[in-house]
């Protein structure tokens, strides 16, 4: 027995009820997916100014001219994708390494100051990012003077507290006995981490990798603030510049938006399970 009464009434009533539910769910899905659908089908239109066309809500044309138009906008447009790829990959790898090791230390090793240090890290998740934004900008641009470099794009998010929290949460469920026996056999903490913890933590590492990659790929304001030449910009910043330079070129704009979003769609469809799992792993009470 559950919330829904599955036993009363006959089969037809149940099928009828489920059909109505599915129709309602589909309508809501259509509403939230419409912008993405509209973006995709419009991106295959011709690169002409908006006044000259009446765009359609149905797929009709298939031309890649608008994509060519987008890439022709700047000699660095391919570089934007490469930059995003480099930054997102480095941030992803470093987060997986350092959040995993820190998560392991905080969940399984007894050391002086453990509880205090973790509480300090965790409390920083309450601070709105506006507070750190200005001083961080001053630090990178005026003190370190590394604006417009990969270091500036990468360093502030080398390892995030959220990922450490995620790793610690997940590893807390690994039984202590497993680790004790490794210890009795003479393994040091590094060997235990590599041989026992890592194989058991593949899921959380995959979740971290995917979510971190996606977040870094999609991030806009930080690269927008610390880059000032086109060759160092990421695809999101490039897309914004394209948008403001070509306000009337409708289809190329949609092509640009598609280019910036498509890699994440592909990632999502191939690794969907980890995306959905990430939500529930992250939401468990701390």
């Amino acid at each position: 027995m559950a919330l829904y009464n599955n036993h009363l009434g006959n089969r037809t009533t149940r099928t009828f009820r489920n059909t109505i539910l599915i129709v309602l769910l589909l309508l809501f899905a259509l509403a939230t997916l419409f912008p993405i659908y509209f973006m995709l089908i419009s991106s295959f239109g011709d690169p002409v100014e908006a006044g000259a066309i009446s765009y359609s809500l149905w797929p009709g044309k298939f031309s890649l001219e608008s994509y060519k138009f987008f890439f022709a906008f700047s000699e660095h447009s391919y570089r934007w994708i490469l930059n995003s790829l480099i930054v997102a990959t480095v941030v992803m790898v470093s987060n997986v390494i350092f959040a995993t090791t820190a998560g392991y230390a905080f969940s399984k090793i007894n050391f002086r100051g453990r509880a205090l240090l973790f509480a300090i890290l965790l409390s920083s998740m309450m601070i709105p990012y506006q507070v750190t934004q200005v001083p961080l900008y001053i630090l990178i641009v005026n003190i370190f003077q590394i604006q417009n470099t990969y270091q500036a794009l990468i360093m502030p998010t080398l390892v995030t507290v959220y990922n450490i929290f995620l790793a610690k949460q997940f590893m807390s469920s690994i039984p202590r006995e497993v680790l004790e026996s490794a210890k009795v056999e003479g393994a040091n903490q590094f060997q235990t981490l590599i041989r026992i913890i890592l194989p058991l933590s593949k899921t959380v590492m995959a979740v971290m990798a995917i979510l971190t990659f996606m977040e870094t790929w999609n991030t806009f304001f930080w690269p927008f603030l610390v880059t000032n030449t086109m060759d160092m910009q990421t695809i999101q910043v490039g897309l914004k510049n394209f948008r403001f330079a070509n306000t009337t070129y409708f289809a190329p704009m949609m092509a640009g938006a598609t280019i910036s979003a498509l890699p994440m769609f592909i990632l999502f469809f191939s690794l969907q399970r980890y995306f959905l799992e990430g939500v529930t792993v992250g939401a468990v009470k701390g």
Binding site: P128, Q130, V134, F221, L225
Partner: protein, 300 residues
């Protein structure tokens, strides 16, 4: 524990601390440099008139000038309006969807969850670019064409101060609610079926079960989503920045955007730091009140 085993244990644990510090050192350095230092620095800068060549200490002038600025209060009002119009609707929508998903087969459930999550993986800039065309003020704009279908007049959605805020709210309603839906579904599955069995014996109908079992059992989840939703909404400014720039006539200037403009349009870093600390204070108070008044019988 006997002395012998405790000694053995000590021998086993020897070197653990060293490894632990090695494992967390990078995290601590990154935290110290890019979170702790900036927070401390924000406090200091907020009492200064910042200049890269040497700042001057001006006491609480930044704070007093913010608290006397009409725009600051307007931005708070805009933020509150946006939050009140978006967060509860998001909660109700995701709750309704997760309830409707429940009786379906597992495979269908997963498909729907994925579909609702999908818009969240597209970048904010890409979605803003698309929505700018949906809100296009020409009669060819998608939303205006939709209205024209019903014989309604075209609107200057983002350009008129009476509709600009509503446009941003509409965009939020039709964005991804996947995260909240997934969390609600997980919580629904966690409700003990004995409650439903007892209710069935008492002859309770669907709505009575909803009211007496589901809603009370999901209260912690709802509170979690409410608090995180409100905190998130108070920091929102990317859509306002990309879609309206805060206009027209500051109708969509939220606190987050005001801070951004103060810092990176007018380069008044001290004032921006002070504004951001006031925002942090507001968020802290709101989160505290929500837990105090709504969280009475919720256990953590």
């Amino acid at each position: 524990m006997s002395r012998a085993t405790s000694r053995a244990r000590n021998r086993l644990n020897r070197g653990d601390s060293a490894w632990a510090y090695l494992f967390i050192i990078v995290a601590l350095l990154v935290y110290a440099l890019f979170t702790a230092y900036p927070v401390l620095s924000a406090f200091i800068i907020s009492f200064q008139e910042y200049s890269p060549r040497g700042s001057t200490y001006i006491g609480i002038d930044n704070y007093t000038s913010i608290l006397q600025s009409e725009l600051f209060y307007k931005s708070i009002r805009n933020t509150i309006i946006y939050t009140v119009l978006t967060v509860p609707v998001a909660l109700i929508l995701s709750f309704a969807v997760s309830i409707m998903i429940m009786p379906l087969q597992k495979r269908l459930q997963t498909t729907f969850k994925a579909v609702y999550y999908l818009p969240a993986v597209a970048s904010g800039v890409a979605l803003a670019v698309v929505w700018l065309w949906i809100f296009d003020p020409m009669s060819a704009g998608v939303l205006n064409r939709f209205l024209g279908f019903f014989g309604l007049d075209s609107q200057n959605w983002l350009g008129s101060s009476s509709t600009a805020m509503f446009s941003l709210v509409l965009m939020s309603w039709l964005s991804s609610h996947g995260t909240a839906i997934i969390i609600y579904v997980a919580a629904l599955l966690g409700i003990d079926s004995s409650y439903y069995e007892a209710a069935d014996i008492d002859g309770a109908n669907f709505f009575q079960k909803m009211w007496h079992i589901v809603i009370p059992c999901l209260k912690p989840t709802t509170l979690f989503l409410l608090v995180t939703g409100v905190i998130g909404s108070f920091q929102v400014f990317q859509n306002a920045y990309l879609m309206t720039g805060g206009g027209p006539n500051h109708a969509t200037t939220m606190v987050g955007l005001l801070i951004f403009d103060t810092a990176f349009k007018y380069f008044e870093f001290g004032k921006a730091a002070a504004q951001s600390l006031l925002l942090a204070l507001m968020i802290g108070i709101i989160a505290f009140l929500q837990f105090k008044f709504l969280g009475k019988d919720v256990e953590y």
